[in-house]
């Protein structure tokens, strides 16, 4: 649902709820009771649902992820002018939606993957506001990056299936697909955000 509709709906609901409160004598009539039930029960629940849904949607946006200071360097790494940086290559070539770049790669493409990603997000909020914020270079994945997340998009793609790099040995492609060989940590695509070395990097300026 577009954010504008949610915002307008919440605003109208708030206005009706307050109106019913300040004109409480209206509830003496049958119609007034129905109005109060709508204004103080049905509509607020719908508004909360709409608002929560919108918040969940926003939590998947790149802006949301990068709005915490500790994530700034991870955002900068998307603009490194070096194709060996895997996230930068994906981001700059629109291989991931730019407005959802973080979420696209850092969610689990499995049952309840979205739920797990949201729960991890809550943990990040706890650390951000109640815990000790680590240095960017100290931030690690919870578990080794799963090939499943890469294969969600790349599986079946011609460049992935037929690319010479994936046929250096006869069983390489199959071992990647089965998860026996990691895309990221087996020495093939192991340059990711590298936030500790960004000070020496050159950055891509879009439009130049």
């Amino acid at each position: 649902m577009p954010a504008t509709i949610v915002i307008v709906f919440i605003a109208i609901t708030a206005a009706i709820a307050l109106l019913v409160g300040f004109r409480a004598r209206w509830t003496r009539s049958r119609e007034g009771k129905i109005l109060a039930f709508l204004a103080l029960f049905i509509l607020p629940i719908a508004a909360v649902w709409g608002g929560f849904s919108e918040q969940m949607d926003r939590a998947e946006s790149t802006d949301f992820c990068l709005s915490c200071h500790v994530m700034t360097d991870f955002g900068r790494s998307l603009y490194v002018d070096d194709p060996s940086y895997l996230p930068a290559r994906h981001f700059q070539n629109n291989r991931v939606p730019r407005d959802r770049a973080c979420y696209t790669c850092h969610t689990d493409y499995a049952m309840f993957g979205t739920v797990r990603a949201k729960l991890r997000g809550l943990r990040h909020l706890q650390v951000q506001y109640l815990g000790t914020i680590p240095k960017p270079e100290e931030i690690k994945l919870y578990q080794p990056y799963n090939n499943r997340e890469c294969l969600h998009c790349h599986l079946g793609a011609r460049r992935f299936e037929e690319g010479s790099g994936h046929h250096k040995t006869p069983d390489l492609l199959q071992s990647v697909k089965s998860g026996q060989r990691s895309c990221l940590s087996s020495g093939c695509h192991d340059i990711v955000h590298e936030v500790g070395s960004l000070k020496d990097a050159a950055f891509w300026k879009e439009g130049k």
Partner: protein, 64 residues
């Protein structure tokens, strides 16, 4: 003239719900984790309390 108890409760319920909704509305104008926290920790409880107060106002058979 004193308001019936049910109307007083409805007024308070509407104030809680209205305040909660306005806070939630405010959080939707900014994309930031803190906006989400305010939405959940402040907005939702206010609206929940208002709804409960409204339902409670319906429960007693008579009014003051």
């Amino acid at each position: 003239m004193e308001k019936p108890l049910i109307e007083s409760r409805i007024k308070w319920a509407s104030l809680l719900i209205g305040a909660g909704l306005l806070i939630q509305l405010g959080t939707l104008f900014r994309i930031h984790p803190l906006a989400f926290v305010v939405f959940v920790v402040v907005g939702c409880p206010l609206i929940g309390a208002g709804i409960i107060l409204y339902l409670w106002s319906l429960a007693p058979a008579g009014s003051k």
